[in-house]
Amino acid sequence: MLAVIIPCYNEQYNVGRVLDELTLLNSDTILVVVNDASTDLTSQKAKETNKAFVIDLPINLGVGGAVQTGILKALRLNATQAVKFDGDCQHSSEYIKDLLKPILQNEADIVIGSRFLSEEPDGFKSSFFRKIGIKLLQVFTKILTGKVITDPTSGFRAYGSKAMNFMAVNYPNFDYPEPEEVVLAIKNDLKVLEVPVKMRERFAGKSSISALGSVYYMIKVMLAMFFIALRKHKKMD
């Protein structure tokens, strides 16, 4: 069974649309919305749809803590695969089957939807500085793990049950955990694979990383990646 985990922070205008899109998926799928202590009507809007389990975190934990909560819920519901799907409409549900394919065929534990693998130019507009930031994280990931991950900041990911159990205990406890998660997974012998996806621009709301905060973000995330790479293997529970 598949669980789609949708971490949300102040996404009252998007969450309904995201859930509508996801319910078009066939059959055996449960939707888990993790509302990370939003200050708007995200929780109500999600509950009104009656399509998802809505978990309201009493305090803001950041993306890392929210996603981990979703994974814990998915495991309790006996899900065997999970997909992380952003609550801001950037991801398209049509790619979920592509993300899951390598997991169902036992070729990967974590599959990342990459914006930079597709051959045709995509519509995803990215600022100059964001491109530099992503390039820098790509190179840094290569140095630390020896593997090329073209889109280490992509939040569109699928997890097999081994990865779910691992991340339920060890998920990076950080606001923007995606690049850390890549290093953590590879260093702990989880198989990480990328498949091409296209992402959309956000419909409503602002992106969570401001221009000013991004330098601090880069320092923090690279430091965290570095120390994750230094650490010994985590024990698998």
């Binding site: 009493p58 305090i59 923090k220 120390f227």
Partner: protein, 115 residues
Amino acid sequence: MEKIQIISIIGSVLFLFFIVELIKRCLIKEAYSILWLFFGGLFLFISLWKDGVDWFAKIVGIYYPPAMLLLFLIIAVIFVLIQFSVVVSKQSDQIRKLAQEVALLKSQQTKENDH
């Protein structure tokens, strides 16, 4: 190289090594280690570039250059303490919210059991 310079280089390196070891063992979170690493690096830099201290003291107008080291040290300590205050304040707020949530859940549960 003077004796004091060698001692301060060794001291700075040991300090950085200690911080790195604490982060590796997950006893300090990366986000809270940035200040420590920054000031550790700064002290190592100052110990390696001794003339820099004199040079910088002259620019700022400090007559006794070693006093500048003490100034750096105090600034470092104040910054870290402010960071701690911010973190502690945030955490006490979060703990209050969690306690309230647990209490509300408990009262809801006993009510459901009564019915």
